[in-house]
């Protein structure tokens, strides 16, 4: 149960990182990725996945 980021779509804006309630998004050299073990898909916290809702590019933060 986790989300992932499609790297080739990612603009590197970091909007997802600000919103993630689990601190599950890391960035290295402008590339963002989701730490599988930390991601809860926002269950029990928010009705929708925050990374996907904040991301400017469709279908970039998706179910792993």
């Amino acid at each position: 149960m986790a989300f992932k980021i499609i790297a080739e779509n990612c603009t590197g804006c970091g909007a997802c990182q600000f919103e993630c309630p689990n601190n599950a998004i890391s960035s290295k050299g402008g590339l963002f990725s989701i730490i599988t073990g930390k991601c809860t898909e926002c269950k029990g916290i928010y009705p929708t996945q925050q990374c996907a809702a904040a991301c400017p590019i469709p279908k970039t933060c998706v179910k792993a």
Binding site: T11, C13, G14, A15, F18
Partner: protein, 485 residues
């Protein structure tokens, strides 16, 4: 290496020759539109190139790209693509962390004594990245307290941050407001991200509108200067901008700047891909005229990139990329002081020259447009072939006034063959009677003549307005006007 508008090496020479004030108040040097502003406002904007047409001849700004994230989607924006040749908001080549941004500002301040303003305008939204934005401003304010701090935002998160904006001494904020009617907003903004939720359609536009108005009111209540930018989108909000103007003026915005939509399929934006066109220069002018003095004040707006550096119309960003910051020399306040003294004298001289030229020639002829190749300082000081843009002045019996600028370069030439630069320049000079430059070659002069544009290099390095007025008077007396009319 590009030259400063007044070479650093010559500042000492200038300062030695500084004369006493010529009796022209700093206010009076500013020409037309600034006279409509209250004194307190003029004091705040007189060195701000984006807010004062006069200041844009003398002072530089830099944008630091510390805010890549955004919380709304606009149909005119797509930040996936970047090209160093592009000049439009939302585009940067290099994102910076706050400490890197400080190093960049220090490096630019040491090289560019004209630098008076540091702004954060994205490339996303400054307040969608509030922690980085405020951390950056705090570092800069501590290191270089003379720099004005400036912030641009879409307004969605503005009212949450008004206390911090005031506390850190930001006295200029720009809000982009394209509508005050959510139905129109729904055609501009497909969605917003607000309070942990994505909102779409009219609901999204309604929230954005309410938040923008609340933020604007909160800022003006604190005495912070607020400029409103509107993107003119033909067929969407062109007839609506009068209502926007009324709404933002009623809430205390001191300037309303209308900018043309930049739309091209290659930018990948929704509008670009769906055939939404930008306005023609005539359409833009019409809306600006409808809004009165406000829009006239802002005709020098260049719609800068979110990492632009330098005088408006130039971009020295490429000289200050991260990899070149290592060898930066320290900022020298004395150099800045000397530059300010030079500017004060230049402003007075330029105004005096303009007034003298106006008194000397009273004639009855229709005004014409002239183009000027300049690299700043209010002077004709650029070679025709080096101009990326021309400043356009209207000159007539009542004097000369700045009415806008025209670019001669293409937004992006990557992947295409070199365009015919001369053809591009001639197209940009449509409707212009003469082009003033420091120098021009014989072949370009001839090609301009064939296109009906007179090339004038007789006023090289002189003040723009005074030269244009003198030229106009001489042209009228020699019968050139009658011959071409």
């Amino acid at each position: 290496m590009p030259q400063n508008i007044v070479a650093l090496s010559s500042i000492g020479r200038f300062s030695g020759a500084l004369c006493e004030s010529s009796g022209c108040s700093s206010r009076g040097t500013c020409g037309s539109a600034a006279d409509d502003l209250p004194d307190a406002v003029w004091q705040k904007i007189q060195d701000h190139p984006c807010y004062s047409e006069d200041a844009h001849h003398y002072f530089a700004r830099m944008h630091i790209a510390v805010a890549p994230a955004c919380n709304i989607q606009c149909n005119y924006c797509h930040r996936k693509f970047d090209c160093a040749n592009e000049s439009r908001p939302g585009v940067v080549s290099e994102k910076l962390e706050p400490e890197e941004a400080l190093r960049k500002v220090l490096a630019v301040a040491a090289e560019v004594p004209q630098l008076s303003v540091v702004g954060i305008a994205g490339p996303g939204d400054a307040l969608a990245n509030a922690e980085k934005t405020f951390a950056t401003f705090a570092l800069i304010h501590e290191a270089l307290p003379h720099l004005k701090l400036c912030l641009s935002t879409n307004g969605l998160m503005l009212s949450d941050h008004v206390d911090r904006i005031a506390a850190i001494g930001i006295d200029h904020v720009t809000i982009t407001i394209n509508m005050v009617d959510p139905e129109i907003g729904a055609r501009i903004y497909p969605w917003i991200f607000y309070r942990h939720q994505r909102w779409e359609g009219i609901e999204a536009a309604r929230i954005l509108h309410q938040r923008q108005m609340a933020g604007l009111e909160a800022l003006t209540a604190r005495g912070i200067l607020v400029k409103v930018n509107s993107v003119l989108i033909p067929g969407v909000n062109d007839e609506h901008l009068t209502a926007v103007n009324q709404a933002v003026r009623a809430r205390g915005a001191f300037l309303h700047n209308v900018m043309p939509l930049i739309s091209d399929p290659s930018h990948g934006t929704y509008y670009g891909l769906n055939g939404q066109r930008g306005p023609t220069p005539a359409e833009l002018r019409k809306v600006q005229d409808q809004l009165g003095a406000d829009a006239k004040l802002m005709r020098h707006c260049r719609q800068c990139r979110a990492d632009a550096v330098g005088l408006l119309g130039e971009d020295r960003g490429a000289e200050f990329t991260r990899d070149k910051l290592g060898e930066a020399k320290p900022f020298d306040p004395a150099q800045r002081e000397m530059y300010l003294a030079v500017v004060e004298r230049e402003r007075a001289d330029r105004q005096n020259a303009k007034e003298a030229a106006q008194v000397a020639h009273k004639i009855e002829e229709a005004p014409v447009l002239v183009a000027v190749a300049t690299k700043g300082g209010g002077r004709i000081n650029l070679h025709f072939g080096h101009a990326n843009e021309f400043q356009i002045y209207e000159v007539g019996p009542d004097g000369a006034r700045f009415v806008g600028h025209r670019r001669t370069d293409k937004y992006c030439v990557g992947g295409h063959s070199e365009p015919d630069a001369m053809a591009t320049s001639i197209a940009a000079l449509e409707g212009v009677a003469a082009v003033f430059c420091a120098k021009i070659g014989e072949r370009p002069r001839q090609r301009l003549k064939e296109a009906g544009v007179e090339a004038v290099d007789a006023y090289a390095f002189d003040y723009i307005e005074a030269s244009a007025i003198t030229w106009f008077a001489g042209r009228s007396q020699s019968g050139t006007v009658a011959a071409t009319a």
